[in-house]
């Protein structure tokens, strides 16, 4: 079964604030999914106070009440139910700079990238009610720009390497899909993330439509290698800064988000492999309103995450920002 997770406009919930520079930088994604699930699964909670920390354990409705299973028989579950009615941007297309970043996640099969990419872009365009986007950046698993960088302090804040980079051939194959989207004028500019000098040189040789952007994570270390700066300048590639972690949605994080425990959304049941009955010592089943046996079972594999931002160009105001994530649940 395919799971489609969404945040809605996370600016509405104040969850995009980087509270602590040392915290994991996928905190925004995790907290905004959590906030959106909570907003949909606690209909009775209502508005409590202006202090924003009201994560009180009020009774939660069953996931079936606020998620949505595709009606045409496709095995596709929207968490929460997708609703594009109120998500449209306020002004005309040309007022905005719309950036979309697509993370292909480690461990996900690479064959379906074309479908996935098109699906991701389509979801964002539907959400924003816009016919095209300005910049599509793709992030391949296992690539770390700072390998080539002279900044020893940084490696320690990066976190573990969770995947090996895939082959250049594989990346180029994916890139062809982006080139097609560019051709179709759905996407104005293309970009890649975390490419260092050597990788970028090799990549450029094989592309028809060149990336306009290479997005790198500086993590407060402003020492971009000269080689890369020069290459980027000579090829007209803009080096942009990002602050995303390389694996934005590890499997364990996703399971936690959707699981039955207190902070989870109650979509997934306890992992079956534990073979134990759920502990009731905290009485959480009761509080969470889960009957035994509710919740989907199976192994969950995150496939991709897409992040989108719409900025009003001449005012520098971010009007909409959010994420979609898609995962495969196999029984």
């Amino acid at each position: 079964m395919k799971l489609i997770l969404s945040t809605s406009n996370l600016l509405d919930a104040g969850s995009s604030i980087r509270r602590d520079p040392t915290q994991k930088s996928n905190a925004e994604l995790v907290s905004s999914f959590r906030a959106n699930f909570a907003a949909h699964s606690h209909p009775s909670n209502g508005y409590t106070n202006g202090l924003g920390n009201g994560n009180k354990p009020t009774p939660r409705s069953s996931y079936t009440a606020w998620t949505h299973m595709a009606e045409d028989g496709r095995q596709e579950l929207e968490i929460p139910k997708l609703d594009f009615e109120h998500s449209a941007l306020q002004e005309e297309r040309e007022q905005y700079d719309i950036t979309v970043k697509l993370f292909y996640l480690p461990g996900a099969p690479t064959e379906n990238r074309e479908t996935q990419t098109r699906e991701a872009v389509k979801l964002v365009m539907k959400e924003l009610h816009m016919p095209s986007i300005d910049l599509l950046i793709i992030s391949f698993p296992g690539i770390y720009f700072d390998e080539e960088e002279d900044c020893p302090d940084k490696i320690s804040t990066r976190g573990p390497v969770e995947a090996d980079p895939e082959s250049l051939e594989c990346q180029i194959k994916t890139w062809k899909t982006l080139e097609a989207l560019h051709e179709e004028r759905v996407v104005k500019k293309l970009g890649i993330a975390e490419f260092g000098h050597d990788r970028l040189v090799q990549f450029l040789e094989k592309t028809t439509v060149r990336p306009s952007v290479d997005q790198v994570n500086l993590r407060d270390c402003c020492s971009v290698p000269k080689k890369l700066l020069l290459l980027a300048k000579s090829k007209g590639i803009e080096l942009l800064v990002h602050n995303d972690s390389s694996n934005v949605l590890p499997r364990g994080t996703l399971r936690e988000l959707l699981g039955p425990e207190h902070a989870g959304a109650g979509v997934l049941a306890e992992p079956t492999r534990t073979g134990e009955k759920r502990k009731s010592m905290h009485g959480e089943e009761v509080k969470n309103g889960h009957a035994d046996g509710e919740g989907l079972k199976g192994e969950v594999q995150p496939l991709w995450v897409v992040k989108y931002t719409a900025v009003v160009k001449n005012r520098g105001v971010v009007e909409n920002k959010g994420y979609f994530a898609v995962a495969e649940l196999s029984g």
Binding site: I17, R19, D20, A35, N49, V224, V318
Partner: protein
């Protein structure tokens, strides 16, 4: 700007008679402006900074530094620089000629003090991140151009105040004090810009007040300061003007540095930023949201520890300016019962602001100033004219004052295409925020001016604070932040910001949670749609509007470090993390991000104490100077060295290793 309009200014008793006349015409002009522009929409973010300089003149042989009163000559030189004019710069008030293409060169303006100069960018900045990096370059260019039009011994310095102002000798050319306009025993009338507007302003404030203005700054008590401290420079035996009686009536207070003229306040240099909002509602929202930040910005930029050759016990200029233009009568001040005047007025014309003006549903009645004085008649006229109660209250509050400078010629006929009468009141209300309607006759939009910051010694710092404020406004709009605080708390914060090293030692009232509350939806629909109809960015269904619970629970005392860098316990997120989250949400190139990081690091460092304010640095400089006797007296030779040091810092910005305590290491890379 109309600042230098010519005419016959009315002396005080005459001007007073026309005050109501000017006010009612001003209100009509305001209504005309408001009607024309209230529907103005989708204006871009444009913004501008204003930097003010003191022009000092060094005599290296004698180890002397004096204020140069050659503003008019310098402006004349700038105004007649054909190359500057060709590039679109110059002096708008004296300007001749046209420019073509490119980014226009900077512009220069006269200021109240005849030793001052103001410079602005040739055209407003946008939000393009490259623009943000041009700010510092442009500031450096401004200083360079200014310097080029001065004598070789002169330098445009960005200290807030000249440490020897009022010592009866450190001005060049020399004029004796005790002139007919200012009647100051310390400074001559010639200290003010000679344009008739300025001496009239000073004279009429004095006349309205019924005595000279009175500035008593607490003196810093050092180990060898005579105590009680009686300002030794006060002359009690002058009998030239009736106002000479002031000091014999106790105007000079014990343990205070005493000053008696507008020049001691309005001769201070500030860093001001003006933003254009997308429409009137966004402007009103920005005005409200930036207001509680005022005292924080003031404490962070503290740079004023010396007055008239003595160390003060305060770090900022604000209250001195406030007193320097305080035209309130004894009745208005509450010193004697009300008899002739209309009301008691709690604040000077120059003070922290007293109104919130947004129609934001988050604005609770309890936040408003309970002591607000409003001219109900003028308010009724505005409301009759269609203006909503809240905005009408704001302007009817500003209009409780008398116009100070009135030109006889302007009283002939009401011109609704102009804004002169409106501006007469509006621009002599010097509050820490100013809400500015679009001027007649061009396409400028609604604007908000941020006025509390002290000028910094280097262009790097001035650019850093300017850019920081710009980024904060973008974060406020993007994240829909809420900094609402009851206005009396902001007033108190403004006082707190005065104490020595308030940035490190004091606590300020601040809202605990600036973030929007989580949204609750019922099956995908917001539970209370539509409440945000009045907010500038109503994105889809908006959040509920009526927070409950006591207002006192919404805020608490925080250090500036907590306000800027966030609370360690994860409570208040911190203005800097909010700005950084904003930067994470937009596309910024690496070079820009790294340069911005230097600016943000400066402000983080000032807040945490890692870097010093100019006030702290100057105090340390004085304390360690060989001529300082720990008696609070800052002598001529010391001041010469100090201003020389400031010049060195301006030129090198710490690259020579000097004043790193203030600027940090970052500038070494530049």
């Amino acid at each position: 700007m109309g600042l230098l309009a010519v005419g016959t200014p009315l002396e005080w008793p005459e001007a007073k008679k026309s005050a109501s006349h000017v006010r009612s015409w001003g209100i009509e002009q305001l209504l005309a402006l408001w009607r024309k522009a209230k529907g103005k929409e989708r204006d871009a973010l444009l913004w501008g900074d204003e930097v003010e300089y003191l022009v000092v003149s060094f005599d290296d042989a004698e180890r002397e530094v004096k204020l140069s009163l050659r503003q008019a000559d310098i402006l004349e030189a700038l105004a007649s620089d054909s190359e500057l004019i060709r590039q679109g710069g110059g002096v708008p008030d004296l300007a001749t000629g046209e420019h073509k293409g490119g980014r226009p060169a900077p512009m220069f303006h006269p200021e109240f003090g005849r030793f001052m100069l103001e410079a602005t960018p040739g055209k407003p900045w946008g939000i393009g991140f490259n623009d943000l990096l041009d700010v510092e370059r442009d500031m450096k260019l401004r200083r360079k151009i200014a310097k080029e039009h001065m004598d070789p011994s002169e330098f445009p310095i960005t200290l807030t105040t000249f440490p020897l102002l009022g010592d009866r000798k450190s001005i060049t050319p020399f004029y004796p004090p005790s002139g007919s306009k200012l009647r100051s025993q310390f400074v001559p009338d010639e200290i003010a810009n000679p344009h008739i507007r300025f001496p009239t302003l000073a004279a009429n404030i004095r006349a309205r007040r019924g005595r000279k203005v009175e500035l008593n700054v607490p003196v810093f008590r050092d180990t060898k300061t005579t105590w009680p401290f009686k300002d030794p420079t006060v002359d009690y035996h002058l009998h030239k003007w009736p106002e000479d009686q002031d000091v014999r009536n106790g105007a000079a207070k014990d343990n205070h540095i005493y000053m008696d003229a507008m020049a001691f306040g309005m001769g201070s240099c500030c860093l001001q930023i003006t933003f254009q909002a997308m429409n009137i509602e966004e402007g009103r929202k920005m005005y409200d949201q930036l207001s509680p930040l005022g005292p924080i910005l003031l404490a962070l930029t503290a740079a004023t520890p010396i007055y008239k050759g003595f160390l003060a016990d305060t770090d900022v200029r604000w209250n001195q300016i406030s007193r320097a233009v305080d035209d309130r009568t004894p009745e208005e001040l509450g010193e004697v019962p009300l008899k002739h005047d209309r009301w008691r007025i709690p604040k000077s014309r120059y003070a922290s602001n007293s109104t919130y003006i947004s129609q934001d549903p988050r604005l609770r009645r309890e936040y408003l100033d309970p002591d607000l004085v409003v001219d109900e008649e003028l308010k009724a006229r505005l409301v009759d004219g269609g203006m909503d109660d809240r905005l009408a209250t704001h302007f009817a509050h500003l209009f409780i004052r008398d116009p100070i400078v009135i030109f006889a010629e302007d009283l002939q006929e009401l011109d609704l295409e102009k804004s002169d009468h409106f501006e007469n009141l509006q621009s002599t209300n010097w509050q820490h925020m100013r809400f500015k309607p679009p001027p007649p006759g061009n396409d400028t939009g609604w604007r908000v001016e941020v006025r509390p910051m002290e000028i910094q010694i280097t262009d790097f710092e001035n650019a850093a604070f300017s850019v920081f404020v710009v980024l904060i406004t973008r974060a406020i709009l993007s994240f829909d932040l809420n900094f609402y605080l009851p206005i009396p708390r902001t007033t108190e914060n403004m006082e707190t910001a005065h104490s020595r090293d308030a940035v490190l030692n004091d606590q300020f009232y601040f809202r605990k949670d600036p973030l929007p509350p989580p949204q609750t939806r019922v099956n995908g629909l917001s539970s209370t749609p539509g409440s945000g109809a009045n907010t500038p960015r109503s994105r889809g269904p908006s959040r509920p509007s009526t927070p409950t619970g006591p207002v006192e629970d919404e805020y608490e005392l925080m250090t500036i470090n907590e306000i800027i860098n966030g609370k360690a316990d994860g409570g208040f997120p911190g203005l800097m993390p909010l700005v950084e989250s904003y930067l994470d949400s937009v596309n910024v190139d690496v070079e820009t991000r790294c340069e911005l990081a230097q600016y943000l690091d400066l402000i983080k460092g000032r807040a945490s104490g890692k870097l010093w304010t100019a006030a702290k640095w100057i105090r340390r400089y004085v304390a360690e100077h060989k001529e300082y006797k720990h008696d609070s007296v800052v002598g001529d030779g010391l001041v010469y060295d100090l201003v020389k040091a400031a010049e060195r810092i301006t030129v090198n910005e710490g690259r020579d290793g000097y004043a790193k305590e203030m600027l940090g290491e970052c500038r070494e890379q530049a």
